[in-house]
Symmetry: C2
Subunit: 269 residues, 2 copies
């Protein structure tokens, strides 16, 4: 089993990723797709008159501030638009794709972060934010994924989860992909984005780190910039859950999955 | 098995419908929900600067004119927003709901209407419209629905379908519900809307027709006004597919499913 995370970032070649997913599924490879959707959510939020807001934690992680209106836009865009378009494209390529969000069949249950500590951009001081609908995934319904996969379907997963109280939550797609990979005991997790992998000196692509020993993945956080921090955390979580190999690879190429499997990118094992 | 169609029209008491779905599922009743989403799609289309357009066929049926941009908005709203909110609400009530559109696992395959004949509102004359992404459902993947139902999930279906060529299509939700009911050999199809049933003289609710013999359902088209025409066609299709009873019932009441099952509304059998 391979879990492929497709970033929502600009530059990702969705057509090429889907064609490569189809090529691998057609050889009998079992595969799950997890996708993001931040960029498109931002664009549609602007058009709907509810512009996106981001917050930064004291340790430097940036995340979306998700009030209930934002959550509904995020659901609409990731689950309704991006997920549907990926499923449509895969179906056109002959893959029997099936879209899910984490709410469906309690696929991903997450703990809502009741209060998150942020750096107030106006004052530079820390304060607590309480009306945020963001969660950290705690369980993935692997039975549902296996039920579908064994019946011949290829799951395509949008980054929403359900709280134990039954609230929809926005979750980080990289970490969702990691938890999914762990739940189905995937051999590999491939995280595709618009960089060739983890760079020692971002954005200098000649400083690509080709391999990281899984015992040292947390140390590599020091090289991770912005979004890459969550990918490194996701990698660490997946490895702890028994995934043998995590690959950060370039989603802008013609054969991104084949390239990743051939070791192009940053391989963590 | 019962298939319940929840209209997207104003006035439907979504909370009461979901609570009644939960009450029935919790007694062991197998149930599938199909929903619409026209009203919400119109509102969001307006806000996104792509206002909805409707066309009328020579025989008097009104339908959405769905260019590709409209199709993507329709998918976003029905599959991403309405479906997600129904699944969230049912999950909160303890129902293990699972949302699907007709694209997922080729749940609903429809023939695209390559060209539709419409009455041009400007001239009153007939003309052909060719760039419309609307379809008529031909097959429903009953195996997928049974796979999920037997595993304890309650499917919630958005009215999108896939063409044999792999294009996403907008489909009529009433007729989708009818085809789903036929595919799973449901005993009953309940179509909830914001009227008490089929009225002999719309909108006079005192003229409710309590029962129609299934042999005479097509004749009752003469009483059907606007949207109700498609419900009558859906009823006819469901009965032809072996569904024993179709009930047009009031979705604005506190216990709409229980009321429908008790015979309140228009019962066709």
């Amino acid at each position: 089993m391979i879990v492929v995370k497709i970033g929502g970032t600009n530059g990702i070649n969705f057509g090429a990723v889907c064609a490569d997913v189809a090529a691998h599924v057609q050889t009998g490879q079992k595969l799950i797709v997890v996708h993001g959707g931040s960029g498109e959510t931002n664009a549609i939020s602007e058009r709907l008159g509810h512009p996106p807001q981001f917050v930064t934690s004291p340790s430097g992680f940036t995340s979306r501030y998700t009030d209930r209106a934002t959550l509904e836009i995020f659901a609409m865009v990731t689950s309704g638009k991006i997920n549907t378009l990926i499923v449509e494209r895969l179906q056109k390529l002959g893959v029997n794709a099936l879209g899910l969000s984490g709410l469906d069949g309690r696929l991903m249950v997450a703990r809502r972060k009741e209060a998150i500590r942020i750096i107030d951009p106006a004052t530079g001081k820390q304060r607590m934010l309480r009306d945020d609908y963001t969660g950290k995934i705690e369980t993935v319904n692997g039975h549902l994924l296996w039920l579908l996969i064994e019946a011949g379907y290829t799951p395509v997963i949008a980054p929403l989860a359900l709280s134990p109280e039954g609230e929809a939550l926005n979750v980080d797609a990289d970490r969702a992909a990691a938890m999914v990979a762990g739940a189905v005991e995937a051999e590999r997790l491939i995280l595709l984005s618009n960089v060739p992998g983890l760079l020692r000196q971002f954005p200098d692509e000649s400083t690509l780190i080709p391999h990281i020993d899984k015992a040292r993945v947390e140390q590599s956080l020091e090289f991770a910039e912005g979004r890459m921090k969550k990918k490194v955390l996701g990698a660490s979580e997946a490895l702890q859950l028994g995934v043998a190999q995590v690959i950060f690879a370039d989603g802008r190429t013609d054969d991104p999955i084949a390239n990743a499997l051939a070791g192009k990118g940053t391989v963590i094992s």
